[in-house]
Assembly symmetry: D2
Homo-oligomer: 150 residues x 4
């Protein structure tokens, strides 16, 4: 994963209760951190995909979530959480995430999170709305890959 491709970063500080009995951040918390990054990313781009979504005309669900652990984060570490939409397909899109320790730029972990756009009643996959596609492309430029759609 190439950090230079990320245009958006948010920060968070590791809280004491996120650290496990080995003195390092418990592995499941990175999924929370990356999710936080995605939410901040969407907020930054002015995209609403949270609570309201499930009562609106379309909904987005997370279908796959991967983390590669590179180096543990520790209590009180300030972390840089990088997020970007890396590709948009016909009815799905992928987020990449990357976490570094702010002070040392030590790579902590990497994430891929795949989302699918569903019809809110039938739950059938639907085409990613053009509005979403355009907002992301405007922000990401050539670093977001558009697949299967002209």
């Amino acid at each position: 994963m190439d950090r230079s491709q990320f245009k958006f970063k948010t920060q968070l500080r590791v809280r004491n209760y996120e650290v496990d009995w080995q003195g390092i951040v418990h592995n499941a918390n990175y999924f929370l951190y990356f999710e936080l990054g995605r939410i901040e990313y969407l907020k930054h781009l002015g995209i609403k995909l949270d609570i309201s979504t499930i009562q609106s005309e379309s909904k987005v669900v997370l279908v796959r979530n991967e983390v590669d652990y590179k180096s543990p984060a520790r209590f009180d570490d300030l972390l840089d959480v990088y997020s970007r939409v890396s590709y948009i397909k016909d009815s799905s899109f992928g987020f990449e995430g990357l976490i570094e320790v702010t002070s040392s730029q030590l790579l902590v972990s990497e994430n891929v999170a795949v989302h699918v756009w569903l019809h809110p009643q039938s739950n059938a996959p639907i085409t990613v709305p053009d509005s979403f596609r355009q907002i992301v492309q405007k922000f990401e430029g050539s670093s977001v890959e558009m697949i299967g759609r002209k």
Copy 2:
């Protein structure tokens, strides 16, 4: 992922505080459920890989964790968590996990978790101990793949 390959199952009940604002289990909790499954699996096989490990002659770290979300679990669902070591390589091994709703056998999610065996001081990858290899093979039989070692 093929459920018939799993020889070990544990159960858990979804707790109220694991459910998010959509009324379904928050996506990060599945990683906790699968981890629980792995720990129960190791306990069942008499393998100690927990706290004590980090003070002993070798240590095991989680390097990769993937979940595919198939269908959401809900509050108070009783879940079957299946776990198995699916392969052992020279210095790493993989766990597969699969969660179903007990009552309906509805598939909830699938997990792959890759672990590496490290030297406790140098942190260099070391060969998976024969004792681990043998205990797993005895339990799993032909369903565990042995890679890169006779």
Copy 3:
């Protein structure tokens, strides 16, 4: 707190990720355990006070929550979680909770949780419904104290 006054018990097993860096259950998790006990208690009595409540004619909010820590619970401990409504006042009621290690009956912690019944629109305190009062009294008998109402 007197264990003999409790007529309802549920059980749970301490999960690995609920244990902190001291090898014992993190202090905030007991609040989750006691909440679980209260929810099971209400379910056992056939009282619905969960999600649906906030969209119905009345709602109940938690206004105070206390825990006394007596002895730490540890990973994999099976715990007995006792719950009871100890009093009902005009617009509020109190839950008591008590946790013991199942195997040893070692006292782990005690909880008092105070709830107030509110008008769903105005948020003003309202009188606890007679139906709630009666169901609890039928189950608890003389061990629930009725205060300020004939």
Copy 4:
């Protein structure tokens, strides 16, 4: 609880996964927030009472934890977490905490957390060390109550 008595404040932002199905911060998370406040407080005063404590000459345990819920915090709220040691007795001391929404100064909740100093081997209560007493008194001045010791 009187906010003007607090000399120390830290801030945190409510994370999405801390919000429950009612769209508000789950009640147990406030205990985590207050704990975070206490840890930052101790760090600010240069007092080490964390991991290392359990291997050192003395240890401190939390014996009682109370929260009064005043008004719910919501997703993305920035919160002011005020902390102070309000009293020191012979072998125990109490922390008070108070949380407000930063933007509105809306009172969210209040906390009292009682700690006891124990002998690390015998677990018997021991006298609070003078060094702790002095550091706190220097920082808090007359707002910390010294009880039962000249």
